[in-house]
Amino acid sequence: MLAQSFSWQVTVIILPLVAALLCFMLPKWGRWLGLVMAFAITGSVIVLAYQVMNQGALRYAVGGWGAPLGIDLYVDGLSLLMLMVVALVGLVVSVYSMAYFKAGKAVHFWPLWMLLWTAMNALFLSADIFNLYVTLELLGLAAVALVALAGGVDALGAAMRYLLVSLLGSLCYLLGVALLYHSFGTVDIALLAERVESTPAVWAAMALMTVGLLFKTALFPLHFWLPPAHASAPAPVSALLSALVVKASFYILLRLWLEVFSQDSTAAAQLLGVLGAAAVLWGGVQALRQTRLKMLIAYSTVSQIGYLFLVFPLASLMAWQAGLYLLLSHALAKAAMFLAAGNILCFGGHDRIADLDRVAQRLPLSLTAFALAGVSSMGLPFSGGFIGKWMLLDAALQSGQWWWVAVIIVGGLLAAAYIFNVIGHSFTRAEISHEAKPVPAIMEWSALVLALAAVLMGLFASWPLAVMDIGAPFGGGGS
């Protein structure tokens, strides 16, 4: 499909950019403007989804120049699902932020959030590895600025560490781009997929880009920056970071491994699998040891990200789909957990798990949201997490690599342990009961909506699986 004049892919990128400019120019109406634009962006993503489901994968040549010279936008099942989960979580978080931020902080939150949304939409649509570098940089800086919005000592320290790690990751990635460009004369992913052969430069590029993206995805040995950053950020920002921003760099890694680095990567895939398994276990154990709720959820993110990397050593179609399914359901569940934690923090003024004072009775909606999200991250039946884990187990058994099955099951048990630890404490009465601030209803309902969406993904699994096959991103990278 060549470049027709008006394209919904472009609208999905330009709308949040224009929204950011407007929110910055008119701070007084920033909140309402942001909300209206959030609905508009979600609407345009839905129209794009409709278009893609009818016409299949779309390639749009920006500026009409075509692949090697210009930049292409490419949307297939994989990027469409990522765009939709960003739109859904983004919309709900926007509604949540209407009530969460006071005027002073709101002025800064909305332009930064809209630029973050622009970066994510641009990243999921781009088919050009240098363009992905610019979107990665935009994403990293926006995320850091949003974390620093919380203003406390630990938030600023975590934001500083996150910024340095993000810049290091981007530079490693850019070095890989330089090597690939000078090996094959193009930076377009599709052309690279055709021209790539295994030379030392490609191995070096693969290693550098993978390490750079692992820094940004916070896989096990490189995860040290994630817990403080995601725990000390404001609640809606933590939800966005854990659910979406961390997944964006995983998406690029997935895209590169599927198309550019597909031949000579069996050994490296095993390494990623081992690191993923270590992340699952380490994240689970650390989450058990945490005393603060947000730190627990942040370490649970580290663990859940580990699951996504178990897909690489299996590398069958079922495994890729399982990984994507886990990614989508984790995004919804994690966002719901962080929003629920934000409600609990607003309510009690603290998030120490031991002193959760009858939260179940006094904040029923938030705790239900947390419990439902917990169900999905544990992988209990009737949840998106269950479908994902089931497919992953199936793929592991089919490929005969049974040890990943053990890791998945132990990970599920650990998740159950730290979730029930929190839910248990929320029924008890804390020794020091303190006055509680009422939590706006809209904040509780938005957490619940996301948790229900995570569960719904378990019930209606056929639709996402069908969308995944558009453009066959996993099957030999045909476009």
Binding site: V153, G157, L164, L168, L175, Y181, H182, V187
Partner: protein, 123 residues
């Protein structure tokens, strides 16, 4: 061994030098300098490989590097502002959990002490 290959190797070594300094030093300003040096290394590599010998003039790496330079200065400016805010909040321009022995290696030579010590000698 054309001179452009030499610049490419210089770029690679600058990248590694910056990476070592980024990990080694505790003071954030020095880490920001390290990130800038690494960026210059990558840009040098990007252009040096394109300039190889008899090839025609390839403008795409040049455009990439200009984009990279602008991205680098915006990242540096944000990092400096964040460092100053962190310093004002925590009293020290170092990442939160820097170990004491790392700190001791930085602090005695804090700029103001060194300048005054020097000045005494010179006056």
């Amino acid at each position: 061994m054309s001179s452009d290959l030499f610049y490419a190797l210089t770029g690679a070594s600058l990248f590694t030098l910056g990476l070592y300094a980024l990990i080694k030093h505790a003071h954030i300003l020095r880490k920001i300098l390290a990130i800038n040096v690494m960026g210059s290394g990558v840009f040098l590599l990007l252009v040096a490989l394109a300039a190889g010998g008899q090839q025609a003039f390839d403008p795409v790496p040049h455009a990439m590097v200009i984009t990279g330079i602008v991205v680098a200065i915006s990242a540096t400016a944000l990092a400096l502002a964040l460092m100053l805010r962190l310093r004002e909040a925590s009293g020290l321009a170092v990442l939160p959990d820097t170990s004491p022995e790392e700190l001791s290696e930085q602090l005695p030579e804090a700029p103001s002490d060194v300048a005054s010590k020097n000045n005494g000698k010179n006056a």
